[in-house]
């Protein structure tokens, strides 16, 4: 428990989680986006007020109220917890087993070097947790067991998610994966991240990025290809489709849900993948 204070070095700890959008027919294709009617809209307006733009050392000491990771004894959720619940609750609807591989990055697990992809549940063998509640528990316990550290690297987490997606393809799986990254730091390994995204664009994978806190997220917009050029890797491969959606939490205006903005492109990204491969829903 003291580790956090003793080893506290700085700026960031992020969260990444992966969810399967179940089997095609049962979930996304099946309801044919009738879900738009009830799920793509704000669920609880109390949860949707814009996050206050804190210019103080955003990540700070999780024990102090100005930290984005502050666990409020009164139970008021911090920015990470809100992002997990708000986005996770929609995504889990499409996951058949509700078991989520969940990793942390940008932190130093006990006695270890800075890790850019570690199992959030603290296990060295498996990365899955049960349900949104499982993610929340893994997150709070991890805060006690890791010390926050920079830099902010996305490459390792994206590559790990891509590996899971490609193994599913290799096993003949009919699954589409969604990687949710919640971060308060600006990506440091921009080129490696681009390389990993370009490589993953051929896989059944979409990446949702939620930026929390007051950092300048301009760099992140580059990853979200709908604003300009297609993503290009360091050796000239180009993303075959847009798989990234980035939304800064603070830009969420009242009446417009972060979930809505984040998930807006997901149906198109999914359909582009299955249509190009002529994948039919199994009825």
């Amino acid at each position: 428990m003291d580790l956090l204070v003793a080893n506290f070095v700085g700026l960031e700890a992020k969260l990444a989680g992966l969810t399967k959008v179940g089997q095609y027919v049962k979930t996304v294709l099946g309801p044919q986006f009738t879900l738009r009617n009830h799920l793509w809209v704000p669920q609880n307006s109390n949860l949707l007020r814009p996050f206050s733009d804190s210019t103080a050392a955003s990540n700070g000491n999780p024990r102090l109220p100005d930290s984005l990771h502050f666990i409020d004894p009164s139970g008021r959720p911090n920015a990470y917890q809100r992002a997990i619940v708000e986005v996770g609750e929609v995504l889990q609807f499409y996951d058949s087993d509700k078991r989520f591989p969940t990793w942390g990055f940008g932190a130093r697990p006990i006695d270890g070097p800075v890790s850019h992809c570690f199992n959030l549940n603290g296990s060295s063998h498996y990365c899955e947790v049960e349900g949104i509640q499982g993610i929340m528990m893994a997150y709070t316990s991890a805060l006690h067991n890791v010390s926050l550290a920079g830099p902010t690297l996305f490459g390792p987490v994206i590559s790990t998610a891509a590996l899971i997606a490609s193994q599913s393809v290799a096993n003949g799986g009919r699954k589409y994966f969604v990687l949710l990254i919640i971060t308060d730091g600006v990506v440091t390994d921009l080129q490696e991240t681009k390389d990993a995204i370009v490589k993953a664009s051929d896989l059944p994978l979409s990446i949702l990025i939620v930026g929390v806190g007051g950092a300048d997220f301009k760099e992140m917009e580059v990853l979200d290809a709908d604003k300009g050029e297609r993503l290009e890797s360091s050796y000239g491969r180009v993303a075959s489709r847009d798989i990234v959606q980035f939304v800064p939490f603070r830009e969420v205006q009242s009446g417009f849900s972060v979930v809505q903005a984040l998930l807006a492109e997901l149906p198109t990204q999914f359909l582009t993948y299955v249509r190009s491969r002529n994948i039919q829903p199994s009825l």
């Binding site: 590996l163 490609s166 193994q167 290799a170 896989l203 050796y235 000239g236 491969r237 180009v238 075959s240």
Partner: protein, 177 residues
């Protein structure tokens, strides 16, 4: 030894010559390094201008030691019926569709930056690739078969005895010499 690779040349985007959009009459030649085969070419697209689409499948034999496949977008010259100018080239690492975690016979959708002869960026080419995986039986007729052999346990109960064996394949191999 080589692999058979089916490459579907789908389309290209934003092609330029002398910083002006290409007017049309573009086609694509595909070549594998370390191969002396003639380069297959697609038909000419005359309608798409600087955003041509071909949707044409070509088959390339890629030697096992080849590391790149080169696709080159060319433009027919108006002066002669056979002449053509290079518009842009992309070198595609074979490792982008062979040797990853995804099985080789999977359909890959890949896009690449094209470079002109002055090494300037010139548009993007979109392709799909599928590696033809040979039928297991087709390669066994003339060469040594390496199919799995069911073993018989030589010792049980943790015995430490030693067994000497000669692989049957080896004998076959000798006979074939």
């Amino acid at each position: 030894m080589s692999r058979t690779v089916e490459i579907t040349i789908l389309s290209a985007e934003n092609l330029q010559v002398n910083r002006k959009p290409v007017k049309g009459n573009t086609f694509v030649a595909v070549h594998s390094d370390a191969s002396s085969d003639a380069s297959p070419v697609t038909k000419v697209d005359s309608e798409g201008g600087s955003y041509p689409s071909w949707n044409e499948k070509v088959v390339v034999n890629v030697p096992l030691h080849a590391r790149f496949i080169t696709v080159e977008v060319k433009c027919k010259t108006s002066s002669s019926s056979t002449g053509s100018n290079s518009v842009g080239v992309a070198r595609i690492p074979v490792s982008d569709f062979i040797g990853g975690y995804v099985p080789e016979n999977q359909l890959h959708f890949l896009s690449y930056r094209l470079w002109d002869c002055n090494v300037r960026r010139n548009g993007v080419i979109n392709i799909s690739v599928r590696v033809k995986v040979p039928e297991r039986s087709s390669c066994t007729s003339n060469s040594v078969s390496f199919s799995a052999v069911t073993g018989v346990p030589v010792a049980v109960n943790g015995s430490t005895g030693v067994v000497t064996g000669i692989p049957a394949l080896w004998l076959n191999y000798q006979r074939n010499l």
